[in-house]
């Protein structure tokens, strides 16, 4: 059994650790809330952009051939995946989950040679260790990302797609469901799928703009629908990346919050266990001393 002083020292250090983890938990909680708010703030724009996109598509009777960014390719040879992780660890299974989901996805679809654009140090390091092809990495994203932080990666993806270097671009991020649940998600970024999400989006539209949406109205287009699509579609891609990053940030912080909460709990248990041991050891020592004294006294009494 360890000495009293040793146990005392351990109790102290565990208490210190629990203070640190509690502080980290608080910080993560407030950062999570901010990221969530930010993600919500871009929603009006997203809803409007969808509305206009579907509107333009409706004018033309279909979206497929309207613009290169909307055109599906028959054979998919090269794929690019934007993988969003965090720079820092200590966030539970957050980074592990999304990286595992991504590698599984790559294996299932035969995209082992997919080019990866990684956001966050953890994803880059893990993917490099697995020997994957990382063509670009972005680290040190600010805690409140701005659109200008997104442009470079959006550029890479859109240019690569238009040049034919990639036939599909996916984005892998962690969807924030609630504080306890974050889901690793992979979805197709390019070509943009207008039809697929329409139903879901109509519901959202109704919710947001129940006012005079007169879709039959004849619009004037300046300069023309094709050029307008050329402006809107890249924005749309940027927007999706931006939202994915915000969702991921919110997920990262909530994962960290939960991890730190557990750590604090564990530290508390450890402290109470150690305190119990400490008391036992102390009591043992006292008993031993008493026995010594009593034994000594008895010996003296017998001698006299």
């Amino acid at each position: 059994m360890s000495s009293i002083r040793e146990i005392k020292r351990r109790i102290k250090s565990v208490k210190n650790i629990s203070q640190v983890t509690r502080a980290m938990q608080m910080v993560a909680a407030s950062k999570m809330r901010r990221a969530q708010e930010q993600a919500l703030a871009s929603r009006p724009y997203a809803v409007k952009a969808w509305e206009i996109l579907t509107h333009l598509a409706a004018q033309k009777g279909g979206t497929e051939q309207l613009h290169p960014l909307l055109t599906h390719r028959d054979t998919v040879n090269h794929v690019c995946i934007i993988l969003i992780t965090s720079d820092k660890g200590l966030a539970g299974a957050y980074n592990g989950n999304i990286v595992r989901t991504t590698t599984q996805f790559m294996a299932e679809h035969g995209h082992q040679k997919a080019s990866l654009i990684t956001v966050g140090r953890k994803g880059r390091d893990l993917m490099l260790r697995y020997g994957r092809k990382v063509i670009a990495d972005f680290t040190d994203m600010p805690s409140r990302p701005k659109m200008k932080d997104i442009y470079p990666m959006a550029h890479l993806a859109i240019d690569g797609f238009l040049k034919g270097e990639y036939d599909q671009v996916y984005i892998a991020y962690t969807d924030f469901v609630n504080t306890l649940k974050q889901e690793p998600t992979i979805h197709l970024l390019l070509p943009i799928q207008a039809e697929h999400d329409q139903a879901e989006n109509k519901a959202m539209n109704k919710h947001y703009s129940s006012e005079e949406v007169d879709s039959t109205a004849q619009y004037i287009y300046e300069p023309n629908p094709e050029k307008l699509l050329g402006v809107i579609l890249p924005r749309f891609t940027e927007l999706q990346i931006y939202q994915a990053i915000l969702e991921s940030t919110a997920s990262e912080h909530s994962a960290r919050m939960v991890a730190m909460q557990n750590a604090t709990e564990n530290a508390k248990h450890l402290v109470s266990d150690l305190t119990l041991t400490y008391n036992k050891v102390r009591q043992d020592a006292i008993t031993k001393e008493m026995l010594d004294i009593v034994g000594g006294a008895n010996a003296l009494a017998q001698a006299s």
Partner: protein, 137 residues
């Protein structure tokens, strides 16, 4: 009669109110929009957006491209970037312009397009900010 104007960027909603008139920098030229305008969808370019509200001083925004949807009583501006004239940091904009100018002078072909955009943007921001200051005097 008024029309509702919304100014949205991807990051946030900047403005949402009833106004009397909007003057916006369309790709095909300046557009003045009054209530009951015919439905219109247009691209926007770098420039300033002016808002007229009755009984109030005109408000100015620096717009960095984007697009705009016009309905008879509702105008939605979806800007790549948008700033209120009061919020533009003049010294910062000046610095940005200088940097862009230097880049342009060097003539590195790779950066030229980017520098030009940066130059246009800072130029436009300065213009909008200055206009505001002149008004105040």
């Amino acid at each position: 009669m008024t029309l509702r104007l919304e100014i949205l960027t991807i990051e946030h909603k900047l403005f949402d109110d009833q106004v009397d008139m909007v003057i916006a920098p369309g790709t095909e030229g300046l557009l003045g929009i009054l209530p009951r305008h015919t439905p219109l969808l247009t691209g926007l370019t770098f420039g300033e957006l002016q808002i007229k509200q009755e009984g109030q001083e005109d408000q100015y925004f620096a717009i960095g491209g984007g697009f705009m949807e016009v309905r008879p009583h509702h105008v939605i501006v979806m800007a790549d970037s948008a700033e209120r004239s009061e919020e533009i940091d003049v010294s910062q904009a000046q610095e940005a312009r200088q940097r862009a100018e230097e880049l342009l002078a060097k003539g590195n072909s790779q950066d030229t397009a980017e520098a030009e955009t940066a130059f246009k943007r800072s130029q436009m921001r300065l213009k909008v900010a200055n206009q505001r200051r002149l008004k105040r005097k």
